[in-house]
């Protein structure tokens, strides 16, 4: 029997039970669709995250110091200009900016807003391309210890709306004391870089931040390596300096060694790796769920085909009586299964991409279409059709013609 004939017969059989066929196809659509959507969404999120991390610059090294893990002597030295100078003197390091972040309540027209405050030095704005004031100016070396603030674009919008905040007095409550800050600048929009939303931040001079919040706080440095190739080298130089500092403070104080490493030096490459690892695990879990639904879809096909074989037992008998070979009957049912699962696979691909596209619109991610997983999903749906169609098809082929003819 020619293939086209079989295809024609299969289409006829599938069309004879439209609802049943539609439901079978739907099972595969959901399975393939969820796998495709998950992969596309994860790819989109990864692309977005990579862009953000890369936006920090591949030369960037972030150094986080954990005050709770440092001895008080080391902690006292942690953000000194002396350490900054030491780090800056490292041969592979070209720029070091100490930062200190805390939270405070900005009060505008009697309403208080919880904001992130970032104590920085003037060099901070230079770390990121395109991070420059839209109005007014950024923090200057002459601003040290003064109560001035530069607002991120989002903060300016939420606190002052369309009003120009430059020159306004902004009372901020930090660690229980209320300080009036003069707004000297508003930054242009820059978006999320690394793990921080640069637009949703109030920038104040580092010295002011340290004075107001006390020294035991989360502190960090942002450093830049001299070149992208020197990033690893710069990171190990920084670690060496920090180790020395911690060892020195220990001997001078005689405090017991602390088990936890009190700092964390991170290069962007590592951040991307860490992200990809965690996302990889998520992808596996979600993909697994998708694969299970695909499997359920396959079981659906098998179920319907078994019903179909039983229902069409007499038809099978007739076909065999007039000369259909067992393998013709087998192939006919296999084609029905593969046709169902393939239609489901193609529709599922479209459905999955649609979901991913909608999701990426909603989450403001790039919509990433990758061909390889799409082909894989379609191929897999074909395989599902073959696998789950095989048993019903074999059952049909093994029927005895006379028994099948007499089946009521």
């Amino acid at each position: 029997m020619q293939f086209l004939e079989m295809l024609r017969t299969a289409i006829g059989a599938l069309r004879a039970h439209k609802l049943r066929t539609t439901l079978s196809i739907l099972g595969i659509v959901i399975g393939v669709g969820s796998v495709v959507a998950i992969i596309a969404l994860v790819n989109g999120a990864t692309a977005q995250m990579k862009e953000q991390i890369a936006g920090l610059g591949m030369r960037t090294i972030t150094i986080n110091l954990f005050p709770q893990a440092l001895s008080s002597a080391a902690s006292a030295r942690a953000l000194t200009s002396e350490l900054t100078g030491e780090l800056l003197a490292a041969p592979s390091v070209s720029q070091v900016v100490p930062t200190s972040s805390t939270r405070g309540q900005a009060i505008v027209n009697g309403v208080s807003y919880d904001e992130s405050l970032m104590g920085v030095t003037s060099a901070y704005a230079e770390l990121f391309d395109g991070f420059s004031p839209q109005d007014g100016r950024f923090i200057h070396a002459l601003d040290e210890d003064r109560a001035v603030a530069v607002l991120g674009a989002t903060v300016a919008q939420s606190l002052f709306g369309t009003e120009n905040p430059i020159g306004r007095m902004l009372p901020i409550q930090i660690s229980g004391q209320k300080v009036g800050f003069q707004v000297i600048g508003v930054m242009a929009e820059r978006g999320v870089v690394g793990y921080q939303d640069l637009d949703n931040m109030v920038y104040i001079p580092l010295s002011t931040a340290l004075r107001l919040s006390g020294s035991r706080q989360f502190t960090s440095y942002v450093a830049q390596a001299a070149s992208e190739g020197a990033v690893e080298q710069a990171a190990s130089e920084i670690e060496a300096i920090l180790d020395r500092m911690i060892a020195a403070s220990r001997t001078s104080q005689g405090t017991r060694a602390r088990s936890r490493t009190p700092y964390d030096v991170r290069v962007q490459k590592e951040a991307i790796q860490t992200y990809e690892e965690s996302v990889g695990t998520m992808t596996l879990i979600l993909g697994g769920v998708g694969a299970i639904s695909l499997l359920v879809g396959g079981i659906g096909i098998m179920n319907i085909l078994l019903v179909s074989v039983t229902e069409r037992t007499r038809e099978i008998g007739i076909r065999m009586a007039i000369g259909a070979r067992p393998r013709d009957v087998r192939t006919q049912f296999l084609i029905e299964a593969v046709l169902t699962s393939s239609i489901g696979g193609v529709l599922g691909l479209g459905f999955g991409w649609l979901c991913a596209w909608l999701g990426s619109l909603f989450a403001d991610w790039p919509f990433v279409v990758s061909v390889y997983p799409a082909l894989l999903a379609c191929g897999f749906s074909l395989l599902i059709g073959l696998t789950f169609g095989l048993y019903p098809a074999l059952r049909a082929a093994q029927l005895d013609p006379v028994v099948a003819l007499r089946y009521e």
């Binding site: 020619q2 007499r314 007039i322």
Partner: protein, 226 residues
């Protein structure tokens, strides 16, 4: 053409085994018109199924043109049914969703005839049984006599050597029984070997030879009395 030697056929019926044929010796020559008669349960249909390569015998030898049916594979039996045997059943056994023409085409689908040729031959076969006008009707739109003619057209379409009927007029009224019988007679006159299982005296009377079965054995074998 057909030679059966000591053919038996057993069916497992749950725990017990039902012996449908208990040793049948039968030779059917070319151009014979054989009527197989006998009471219900005597093994008539089973005998016809063995002759028609639908069943392999449990024991004994069944030769079709010298080929041992017992030793052929299921695929080879299918090929034989397709090419050399035309079968007509009491219940017509047409595909309900296919048109008359499509039903007649079906055996050629399995023998790999090209679609254009297939349609031509199917139309000619329908014409032969006088049903050209009903080519695009579905079985449910046909009367019993018309459905049986479609089944006959289907049985003839691959020009088989042997035409078999399993109570072909069992579901038909007297008038259509007569018409179908006339078709069988004229097909026999054209040179085909015909074997029919029947209860009906008139049909047995048209045959050149009548075999009476009783309890899975041949009880009588001889010329039918006209």
């Amino acid at each position: 053409m057909i030679e059966l030697r000591g053919v038996t056929k057993d069916y497992p019926m749950g725990e017990v085994v039902y012996h449908a044929l208990r040793g049948v010796d039968l030779t059917i020559g070319e151009r014979e018109f054989l009527a197989i008669t006998g009471p219900s349960g005597s093994g008539k249909s089973t005998l016809l199924h063995v002759i028609g390569a639908l069943h392999r015998p449990t024991a004994g030898e069944a030769l079709f043109e010298g080929m041992d049916l017992g030793s052929l594979s299921r695929d080879e039996l299918a090929r034989l049914r397709n090419q050399k045997i035309g079968f007509v059943f009491q219940q017509f056994y047409l595909l309900p969703r296919a048109t008359a023409l499509r039903n007649v085409e079906l055996p050629m689908v399995y023998s790999g005839v090209r679609p254009v040729e297939r349609r031509k031959r199917a139309a000619a076969s329908l014409d032969r049984v006088g049903l050209s006008e009903f080519a695009h009707h579905r079985p449910t739109q046909l009367s019993g006599g018309q459905a049986q003619r479609v089944a006959l057209a289907r049985a003839l379409v691959n020009s088989p050597l042997l035409l078999l009927g399993d109570e072909p007029t069992g579901n038909l009224d007297t008038q259509t029984t007569y018409e179908i019988l006339q078709l069988f007679v004229s097909l026999h006159d054209e040179g085909r070997t015909v074997a029919i299982v029947t209860h009906e005296r008139e049909i047995a009377g048209q045959a050149t030879r009548e075999v009476v079965l009783r309890d899975g054995r041949i009880a009588e074998d001889g010329r039918a009395i006209p």
